[in-house]
Symmetry: C2
Subunit: 219 residues, 2 copies
């Protein structure tokens, strides 16, 4: 019974996601669905990214959180449109809530929407939001075994950011193990090793994401 | 409609959890449900804990994982009964799967069962497994804002372990903010600050958990 219910929920989510995807394509807006464990650094990555891109692109942000608007407040200084979705206990965003909040944006005046999903390495990867692509973020401090233990996200994501590389020296993180597991799961995934707090490795990420926005938003 | 379904699922889970709790009480076995984000250090904590307690107590372990038996393999050297539950994508353990795997243990020959839940700060806190209490584990590297952003677990847990204190100097973790948020959510929660890799702070935790086992297993 539960399998059937889950299938229904996912089917309805998929239909709405397809609608969202069509709408965004017609408006030439790309949407990046950022997924990670709690505390891997999604908001800090967004801060670094906005810092650099906010002058070149028209950017909106959707902040998914169980409760509080703490992350959104950290992004307020950029003066861009931000909408918070509080799931009230829900462990992921879905396409219906995304579809609703899109009404709060002027899509004719946007190039890209970054969606910061709820901090969770599992459930968000199962719900298509109508995004252009998923971006996985994983922190060195979580250990090198995350791709093998939580493969769904890494299978689905177009790119992965390995964050907090400044902590490598203080942990037993093995770059070799991480790379080998990741390649087995998704050999085409694009990878950026960065330290958002130090700024290491950010340039490659910023160039790539700019290319994605430029390339895709003008198709 | 989805709310009703969720209520049914939770009701059925609660009924089975009550059964599990009665069974364990009748056998004088305590069960500790360990919950954290991916990579906060549940398995390393279990290694440190087993290292110390395995001579004094009869211990069993249930390992919850999406896929793989990597964590269970790390505990094999202790020669204790370990059962793996692979959820195959499921984001939390539930009382029905716990009830089933209890048949694989000789409950007359156990003092305590440690359950390592799936790495997820959200869903596992909503599903009672019939445990004696929940233990939250959170890593310094995740940031000091986790109790406020993911309050459910911290509200429910009897104790919280703040792990990876060796990384504090390399992060912007504020002990003051963490403490103040945690107190607002659950002022009675018992807290241990530890570094499982360095061994710092483990003695208090080990004394406390030994007391929980001794006290409760002989009621």
């Amino acid at each position: 019974m539960e399998i059937k219910i889950m299938k229904n929920i996912l089917d309805r989510n998929q239909n709405k996601a397809n609608e969202v995807r069509s709408l965004l394509a017609s408006k030439k807006v790309i949407m990046v669905n950022i997924i990670s464990s709690p505390g891997a650094g999604k908001t800090t990555l967004l801060e670094c990214t906005l810092e650099c891109l906010v002058k070149s692109f028209k950017i909106g942000v959707i902040e998914g959180d169980i409760t509080t608007d703490r992350d959104a407040r950290r992004l307020k200084r950029f003066g861009i449109p931000i909408v918070v979705i509080n799931t009230g206990g829900g462990c992921h965003l879905d396409s219906h809530s995304i579809s609703k909040v899109l009404a709060h944006f002027d899509l004719d005046d946007l190039d890209v929407i970054f969606v910061e999903n709820v901090g969770n390495l599992i459930c968000p990867s199962q719900f298509d939001l109508g995004e252009t692509f998923k971006l996985a973020v994983v922190s060195v401090a979580e250990g090198d075994d995350k791709p093998e233990k939580y493969p769904m996200l890494f299978r689905e994501a177009r790119a992965v950011i390995l964050n907090k590389t400044d902590l490598i020296a203080h942990t037993d993180f093995s770059n070799e193990n991480f790379t080998s597991d990741l390649n087995k799961i998704n050999s085409r995934i694009i990878r950026f090793d960065v330290s958002c707090t130090r700024g290491d490795g950010l340039r490659s990420w910023l160039e790539w994401i700019s290319g994605q926005i430029t390339g895709l938003s003008h198709i």
